[in-house]
């Protein structure tokens, strides 16, 4: 069941989306998120949805995989939507007891849910099409200037890429430990909140112990392969912006501008 979580996974491929410079993709994702928060009307949301669909089409990622990625946050989305539904003042449509549903509420709730879902799908599109190493390389390069003020950029990005590398391994391990404890009669589904929290101990303890052991062994393995920090390190893939990067960035910038202008006119 845990295998269903696709968070932070990468689907190797050769589409345009895969071939873009990771820095471009990170910048685009940032622009996309800014644009999402500026979008306020059907027209601008329409633009954003069109943009997301184009992105998905170009990347060749199965839309199902993206929607599946929403599963873990579905509760947050619903909660925000419901909150907005009842607490937005405006023209009252239905009212019972202290709860009233307004026309504005419906719109806001809808837009809020749409915004969060699109935000998540957009970032997933980034992680699905960018190998975690490329992603951290991109971040390291974009954040490079911070090295001057003694921010350990290389170390942070190395930590991040290792964390990403081990997510699938640890998910698999969690699955295995859960099955093993279930085979000894552990019950993770029934009982009250406290019982359920207690039921997690037989999973978490072995998982932590194993994670520490893995970390230990990995550190030795890295040292054996001459890892000694970021100093003097070269790269297999050196980042170069190409014509397609500039083109895509220009297109995005245009869309962001459009959304901003539309917002200016209250659309």
């Amino acid at each position: 069941m845990l295998k269903d979580i696709t968070l932070g996974q990468f689907f190797p491929g050769t589409s345009l989306a895969h071939r873009l410079d990771p820095r471009t993709k990170i910048l685009l994702t940032v622009i996309y998120i800014v644009a999402l928060f500026c979008a306020e009307s059907f027209v601008s949301y329409g633009l954003m949805v069109a943009l997301l669909i184009t992105g998905v089409k170009v990347s060749g990622v199965a839309p199902k995989a993206l929607v599946k990625g929403l599963k873990p946050v579905i509760f947050i989305i619903c909660f925000t939507a419901v909150l907005n539904l009842f607490y937005t003042p405006g023209e009252i449509l239905v009212q019972f007891w202290v709860l009233k549903i307004t026309k504005e509420g419906i719109f806001t709730a809808f837009f809020m849910a749409l915004r969060i879902s699109m935000l998540i799908m957009g970032t997933f599109l980034l992680t699905y099409t960018t190998s975690p190493i490329a992603l951290t390389d991109g971040l390291e390069s974009l954040l490079g200037p911070l090295k001057k003020i003694k921010v350990p950029v290389h170390e942070l990005s190395m930590m991040m890429s290792i964390a990403l590398r081990f997510i699938p391994t640890l998910i698999e391990e969690t699955d295995k430990i859960m099955s093993a404890q279930r085979a000894r009669g552990a019950d993770f589904e029934s009982g009250n909140l406290l019982d359920r929290a207690k039921a997690l101990v037989p999973i978490l303890v072995p998982l932590f112990i194993s994670a520490f052991r893995r970390a230990d062994e990995l550190a030795v393995a890295m040292e054996c392969r001459c890892y000694h920090g970021g100093q003097g390190r070269t790269k297999l893939h050196v980042l170069h912006y190409q014509a397609k990067d500039y083109l895509v960035m220009a297109a995005y910038a245009a869309i962001l501008a459009a959304v901003l202008i539309l917002a200016r006119f209250g659309l």
């Binding site: 430990i177 099955s179 085979a183 000894r184 009669g185 101990v201 072995p206």
Partner: protein, 288 residues
Amino acid sequence: MKPIIRVENLTHTYGQDTPFCRSAVDGVSLDIMEGEFLGIIGHTGSGKSTLIQHLNGLLRPTSGTIYLDGRDIWADPKKIRDVRFQVGLVFQYPEYQLFEETVYKDISFGPKNMGLSEQEIDRRVRDAAAFVGLDEGLLDKSPFELSGGQKRRVAIAGVIAMEPRVLILDEPSAGLDPAGRRSLLENIRSYHRQKGTTVVMVSHSMDEVAENVDRIIVLADAGVVMSGTPHEVFSRAEELVAVGLNVPQVTRVAMELRRRGVEIDPAVYTVAELRKALSALKGGKASC
């Protein structure tokens, strides 16, 4: 003998409706007899891990039925936990599931989940520890202070303490050194002898299976390709090699001898057997 577990037409498909969809077990039917020591062999990916996780209801069949004592184990899904107490499953590298502060507490996890009395739990923990050859003195230690081989024994004791009617072990000796492997297998054999419990051992080591079990089931490509006594199975050694499995070294020597024209039963699989057969052959030759 009557079957304690019957698997009928079991199919399990992972990732249905996705491009990764594949059947790990495909139309498997088999019986596990009360009291027998059964070996299941097959290479990685032959479906053996998926199969055994169906026997105690950890996985639900995509299609097909598992019967325990003639009753469909999924007839009442709420009672599936009882099935798990009756069919104990020890996973591969089970030492990675230890979590309690003491060996004693860890072994008692299963019996506690069964809701047994303190007294009964205590008896079972001590019995189980004895079966796997753990010293009483270790019971109050932390499982994390023990050696790899001892941890493995604690984990196996944790399943034995539930006193299951069927004990399934997935690669119980993987990663142990020769001495550790020998003594652990001896413990399992004597457990089977003394308790008369049904034991199912999954392995890809032919030598290990050959020396221990009454009957072998060979899995390949998600299905059963052979089943029978070790003698029956190893007499088809060529077929085993064809599905990518090793045969015991002794069987290979016998096969090679036959190829060179020595009249010998190719289905021998222990050193003692082959030695006897060869000595008889020599004696026969000397007399004529």
